[in-house]
């Protein structure tokens, strides 16, 4: 190609890097019906429903979940987020417990795997350090919905994943086929933090308080959940059971970015 084209290429490609866009896709604007989980003390039941459609503006989202390598780079630059330095108010005692050292997960085969064992505070700090944010629950669920493109197969995949005990080791981030938006790892890999995971749910007495206990109490209307919405219910219930400093071995994250 001509020198001019080459120079243009050299200038324009790094501008994407400078804006922090590499590894992200633009999810187009659209409407979406948020899933709502509420307890109705009058009826004594758990209520689930899809609320009125909301409009979501277009936004950028990481194509893959954040990996051990990514998070290791972050911790090296920000040792206050290493497991020996992080305040216990920001991450529990299992934070990065599977890592070999403060700054590395260890093992070259582990570098590309999704980082897990991270709290909401740590995930948020990682995203903010890159000028990004955690996706909102609406953004994440909308991205998963994929305009209903792969609906039955997707729902089966998710339900199958939830029904298996997690004994196998995690696959590399991005190793599945992308959905219609170009997003990987949306189903069957890990649970993901969202910015507003702790949105209000009508009553706190919905779950028992033991740490290993069940995620939710049953309720009369739960039986009326379709298989479609059961998977969604699982995610909402899981997210709302979390506290911001919690870490689990199956909980990781990806970042998003508003379109200015």
């Amino acid at each position: 190609m001509t020198k001019l084209k080459l120079m243009l290429l050299i200038f324009i490609t790094p501008l994407f890097s400078f804006a922090g866009m590499e590894g992200m896709v633009a999810v187009p604007a659209g409407t979406y019906r948020p899933f709502v989980l509420k307890s109705n003390s009058k009826k004594g039941a758990l209520q689930t429903f899809r609320s009125i459609p909301v409009k979501l503006a277009s936004f950028y989202m990481d194509q893959k979940v954040v990996t051990n390598q990514d998070f290791s780079d972050f911790v090296k630059m920000h040792p206050e987020w290493s497991r020996s330095e992080v305040p216990v108010i920001f991450a529990d005692e299992h934070y990065l417990s599977s890592w070999k050292s403060d700054i590395s997960s260890g093992g070259t085969d582990r570098q590309k795997k999704p980082v897990t064992g991270v709290s909401w505070f740590a995930a948020k700090a990682y995203c903010e350090s890159l000028g990004k944010t955690l996706p909102t629950t609406d953004q994440w669920e909308y991205a998963l919905e994929d305009k209903g493109r792969n609906s039955p197969a997707l729902k089966n995949q998710i339900l199958e994943w939830y029904s298996k005990p997690n004994t196998r080791s995690l696959q590399d981030a991005g190793s599945d086929s992308a959905n219609g938006y170009g997003l990987h790892d949306m189903a069957g890999v890990i649970w993901e933090w969202t910015l507003d995971f702790n949105a209000f749910m009508a009553e706190d007495e919905l779950r028992d308080n033991s740490n290993t206990g069940s995620l939710f109490c049953g309720g009369g209307s739960l039986g009326k959940l379709s298989a479609d919405d059961y998977a969604t219910f699982m995610r909402f219930s899981f997210r709302s059971s979390l506290k911001a400093k919690d870490t689990t071995m199956n909980l990781g994250f990806r970042c998003a970015k508003e379109k200015s």
Partner: protein, 200 residues
């Protein structure tokens, strides 16, 4: 000339790639030489404005027990009850108490310092003991997450939220929490007197 431009563009490219580094941010790790407790709320380093329009970090509250809750001035029902509970608690403490009462607003948009000051005056929340705080959405999110308070903003700009009163010790560590609006103030009072007298 062309080759100079080419070299320049290579340099620019390298420069741009290097700019993709993690932005530095620093957590407040020490107050005047003394390291913050690992469990302290004061590890949250964002800025807040008080009802007097003063900018503070939460660590400014250290040195006394703190009673902290979250509410907002336009809240129709539950928030007045939280405030009343805190006032009731204050009335049971000795005049000489060093305990401070903190109300952080969910409502970053509307609860600016002037509004908070008016609210404090209407409810007779004395400025020696009460801090009403306005913060950014991010600060509010982090504080709620740390305290374990759930909230959602609805389409009208009002907030659905859980009700929780927390007691912090002089180092900012959460020592006691009371959920809901129906439990009275006896346990809270006992916890505060324990902290004030240095009992574990």
């Amino acid at each position: 000339m062309k080759s100079h431009l080419f070299l320049l563009s290579i340099v620019a490219m390298i420069f741009f790639f290097e700019c993709r580094t993690f932005a530095h941010d620093h957590h407040e790790a020490a107050i005047g030489g003394e390291k913050l407790s690992s469990g302290s709320l004061y590890n949250l380093s964002s800025d807040w404005q008080t009802q007097e329009g003063k900018t503070i970090k939460l660590k400014a509250l250290q040195g006394h027990p703190v009673v902290i809750a979250m509410a907002y001035t336009s809240c129709p029902s539950s928030c007045p009850l939280i405030v009343n509970q805190m006032k009731q608690l204050q009335s049971k403490l000795p005049q000489t108490t060093g305990t401070v009462f903190v109300l952080a607003s969910f409502d970053s948009k509307r609860d600016l310092p002037a509004k908070l000051k008016k609210y404090a005056e209407q409810r007779k929340l004395d400025e020696q003991h009460w801090f009403l705080l306005h913060g950014s959405r991010n600060s509010v999110q982090e504080l709620a997450a740390t305290l374990g308070i759930r909230y959602t903003e609805d389409s009208d700009g009002d907030f659905d939220h859980s009700n929780l009163i927390s007691v912090l010790d002089s180092k900012g560590v959460i020592r006691f929490q009371q959920a809901g609006l129906n439990s009275g103030v006896k346990e809270l009072q006992e916890k505060i007197s324990d902290l004030e007298s240095g009992r574990p």
